[in-house]
Amino acid sequence: MSRTIDIRPVTRIEGHAAIDIRLDDRGRVDRTRLHITSLRGFEKFLEGRQAEEAPRIVSRICGICPWMHHAASVKAVDGCFGVQPPEAGNRLRELMVTLAHINDKILHFFFLAAPDFMPGDGDGPAERSIIGLAKAFPELGRRVGRVRRTGRLMVERFVGRDIHPVAMIPGGFAKPMSPAERDLLLEGARKQLEFALWAMDWAEENIFPGMMDRMSPLGGLESGFLALVRPHDGALALYDGELRLMRPDGSFIQFAAEDYRDHLAEHVEPWSYARFPYARNWGSGLSLDPDQPGGVYRVNTLARINAADLIDTPLAQGWLDDFRARFGRPAQNEALFHRARLIELIHAAERAVEMLSDPAITGKDVSRPARPGAGRGVGCVEAPRGTLIHDYTTDDNGLITRAEIMVGTTHNLAPMNISVALAARRALDGRKPDAEALNLIETALRAYDP
């Protein structure tokens, strides 16, 4: 008797999605789909807006990663208006993106992902949450609470707002950092680094062993990877760089972000409100067939760890060496997104401490005048969820005439669909569907932090 299982909504993810799984009359998985179930239309309603207002509008694409949209957008507007920030302004922008990565990764790992891997049987949905995690590990609960408060306080003391920031402006940054602000933030960043190192040790002991056991049988996708890297040495880059598009065999090409359309294309399906990016030049178009994927690449932490030749902060580099010795390059197992996320957390915290320790961070010349006018600009950053691109065109009045936005997560829509299909087969074929099996399928999806 064929049936459809509808998981709606998918829980413990940042966005809004549903999974439907169709079983044939022998109970075998016949088709799975991951639906993005709403459409706000940012690309349309940016048309006609003054471009300098865009960075404060598009932050509302995401309340967990608003700094990323804010940053990519302001870079695009700089391109339209033909302005480059002074060094001190760029430095502050990079710092805020780095700090936002720290807060985001802590949120994802502990609040959204880790509850799937609690030791013991747990008590089902009621306890499979940060609340259950904090009850099982009270010290963890206290540490996470403290570091989240620190992270928020740092940002709000400096620039007034963390959720839906406003401090990046066309031409630079809205205000310099004072020595007192720097002292506060440096102290905070040191605490974040201490937490990041503790978190990795805690995860190694309490999460990763069970995680690998649980998730490894669910996978099998071999994909390419996309990420920003620093041009001169291929280092992991969160804020700026060139795009490196890697094939499953590890070979890659590298190109300027503004040339993204030469390498990435988009496909549309009637069952998703979000479009599907895929690799334009791999000869096969896009195939979502789990047995024969085509044109599929992934973004997000695992992609950045695979794409980068090195990490330029020492403690994170040490963990990268360990990662590569154990899992190779490129590593394909999606369970490793979580480990890669904690490596990046260490890197972001090291980088924040490094930037705040440099006296140049309090430089006063943080912006240049930005005159509205006609142009085109492409702004690209690595959001926690993946490569984020804002591409705007403006008219003579500096009003936006066209906006293209490739949101980080959407690059992962094709691979997520395939991973969900593979997990569903593994969890459901030849078994009576139960809650545990459905949780396994969602667990596979959550690795992507969608």
């Binding site: 709606r8 459409l39 007034g160 069952w271 006063k364 569907p433």
Partner: protein, 323 residues
């Protein structure tokens, strides 16, 4: 007495839910009297058991339902109605729920034009034809983006983008006690430390998001009001609330955007629930003798409060019919 809280995010960005996480200490402490029973961002409850799809939807019963995000699809509407049935009190959480928020900018276009733009690609092998959404697979878009109280009875409105956790806790406790919240009727200007009444009356607004760069090192109290310097600020037409109370957590008690040295753009919604931020602004500017044509993007002034028919389509084709 323990209050049970149920939380849903509809057409929103999850920012209100992230702000709620500041209440995590209270939510984890049994003595604080708050119990979270439903929040899909953090907990695995669904409305319908995937394995028993024909049974009645059963999110938990709760004293207080917090709903963020506006209404864009038939599914959002169904979820909101479900929450209304299962929660004793409904609080519209955040400016999307109270006034439409940023996503209500989409109301400038009929939904067919949103779909034309977002479900078509013009430079891929797929050929640039707009794909029609499959109604069996995706919830249909409503004809525009609605605020929550346009579709159901809402007991409390808490604007903010996002509201502070302190404000959420206050409205939750007021709701539990059956009290009205203090309707302050204050504007952002009432919480702004800049100098007003300088007597400057600029003739035009100039483009720019914030204070002139050469004022960046002045303390806030020595800055002259942005509007009096001829730059756009929606402080006078926006409800106060973004300034975190002095002494709580991080706030120095000033509007967040002013602290960052940029102008207010109205994210806390109009001064009064039925207010119109654009009309109020035009009045304020006109009475100051300012040239109206220098306000270039008028719909943009309603970027946070475009529901309730404030922002309408300009396309000749007109609206699609509502289901």
């Amino acid at each position: 007495m323990t209050l049970s809280l149920s939380v849903e995010c509809l057409n929103g960005c999850s920012g209100c839910e992230v702000a709620l996480l500041d209440l995590m200490d209270e939510l984890l402490d049994p003595a604080a009297g708050l119990r979270l029973v439903h929040l899909p961002l953090l907990m695995d409850h669904r409305h319908r058991d995937p394995l028993e799809p024909d049974t009645e939807p059963v999110p938990p019963l709760a004293d207080i339902g917090l709903i963020s995000g506006g209404l864009r699809t038939t599914e959002h509407l169904a979820t909101a109605r479900l929450m209304r049935k299962r929660c004793r009190i409904i609080i519209a959480l955040g400016t999307c729920a109270t006034h439409g928020g940023i996503p209500a900018l989409a109301n400038l276009w009929p939904k067919s034009e949103l779909l034309d733009r977002c479900l078509a690609v013009d430079d891929s092998p797929d050929g640039g034809v707009r794909v029609e959404p499959d109604e069996d697979a995706l919830p249909a878009l409503l004809s525009r983006t609605y605020a929550l109280d346009e579709a159901l009875e809402v007991d409390y409105l808490l604007a903010g983008c996002p509201p502070h956790a302190e404000a959420v806790a206050e409205v939750v406790r007021a709701a539990a006690g059956g009290r009205a919240t203090a309707d302050a009727g204050r504007s952002v200007c009432d919480t702004c430390p800049t100098r007003r009444g300088t007597g400057r009356r600029p003739a035009r607004l100039e483009r720019g998001v914030g204070f002139p760069a050469d004022q960046a090192e002045l303390p806030l109290s020595e800055l002259t009001c942005l509007l009096e310097q001829g730059r756009l600020c929606l402080g006078p037409v926006t409800s106060a609330g973004c300034a975190r109370p002095v002494g709580t957590q991080s706030g120095p008690g000033v509007p967040g955007c002013i602290q960052a040295r940029v102008g207010c753009r109205g994210c806390h919604g109009p001064l009064r629930p039925g207010g119109n931020q654009l009309l109020d602004l035009l009045n304020a500017l006109a009475s100051g003798g300012l040239d109206m044509d220098s306000l270039i993007d008028r719909p943009g002034v309603l970027r946070f409060s475009g529901a309730h028919n404030r922002l309408r389509t300009r396309s000749a084709a007109g609206d699609d019919r509502e289901e």
